[in-house]
Subunit: 209 residues, 2 copies
Amino acid sequence: MEGSAPRRTRIQQEKRELILEAALEVFSANGFRGSTIDQIAEAAGMSKPNLLYYFRRKEDIHETLMQRLLDTWLAPLRELDDIGDPLTELRSYIRRKLEMARDFPRESRLFANEILQGAPRIMPMLEGDLKTLVDEKATVIKGWMRAGKIARTDPWHLIFSIWATTQHYADFDVQVRAVLGADRGGNGRFEDAARFLEQLFLDGLKPKG
Amino acid sequence: MEGSAPRRTRIQQEKRELILEAALEVFSANGFRGSTIDQIAEAAGMSKPNLLYYFRRKEDIHETLMQRLLDTWLAPLRELDDIGDPLTELRSYIRRKLEMARDFPRESRLFANEILQGAPRIMPMLEGDLKTLVDEKATVIKGWMRAGKIARTDPWHLIFSIWATTQHYADFDVQVRAVLGADRGGNGRFEDAARFLEQLFLDGLKPKG
DNA sequence: CTAACGTTTGTCCAACCGGTCAAAATTTTG
DNA sequence: CAAAATTTTGACCGGTTGGACAAACGTTAG
């Protein structure tokens, strides 16, 4: 048994990777409809018909990209576990999400683009796997609240707020850099963000007293 | 002196409004390149050549829309003022931003689309007016911190986090609704979000001791 | 009424875009 | 090496899209 996946030669493996890398660059910058096959082909260093030899349709590239993305994208949340100190767990989840925004901004923007357009291609996944996962983690968080380990709030909105604040640094990167200016908007901005978010999520804004 | 703006008849005023409303609907749902003049014309109840009589180019519609948007979009931040209790000021800023996400989600998505694509059309504004405004408000917030009215943190990232968390409910609305499900994802979700965000920004997640 | 002006429409065009196809070039295999 | 299989390319196609344009239609003022 070779499995149901199509058999692929070495060249196919390599060229497909090349195309996916190029497509990630182009799609994340211009959105699906804003990107052309020619752009992707050029970014991958090949001709359009050649690219279409490896992916029959533009949608196939996008779909493959999206499937891969979702796996790795939700990994940090999957790791949020019941073992260990709750506040530490949450803090490291926030940190990992922020690192992903820093290291994989294109993936974040690809995802944001898809959601902004109404998630036409991944709606079933949102209502299925994603909802299941979030519900599961919400239960874990609720347990922490009942045990008095963290303050009582809405676990779903807590997760949303972590997604929102961390992904903001990838999706709205140009705005963040423009507002921070040349000095504060340099490479240190992610460490500043990490420090700020840690304080926000742990202590809020009330002055200590 | 009539000013430098082109003289417009009553019909022009009305039709232009009609077109802008239709274009907001279409652009915010499909992005700039994902939208066609035909779509906008149909949504506005007129023919394509007729629409092009009022706006010579597709870009002109988008530009007009964007200029109007920016004025109203930053109004809540402009109102953040030094008079009144700092924590109350911040709380009401958050509430107002969340209300805007609820009441003007199309505007939020239009803006998000523009930023995601690298803000090609509004970059000067981000580096100019927006940066100036944010820097100004950051100074106000710093004053509050020096006076011990709120905890010490980075004011710029504080503003980013408010933008991120509130706009998330407009930009990622489909995801929010999908994850919350039919019951919790109903109209009450904005009130839940308001309650959660108030707690997050004021007290954080540490359990009360 | 009619001339001037503003509005609307049908037709058309050139550029672009996703995708096909057959033939040529290359690589793999016996 | 030679046949078979795979990869690459140039030419092409039909549909879409942004936009031009002139003619027709409607409105308003003298």
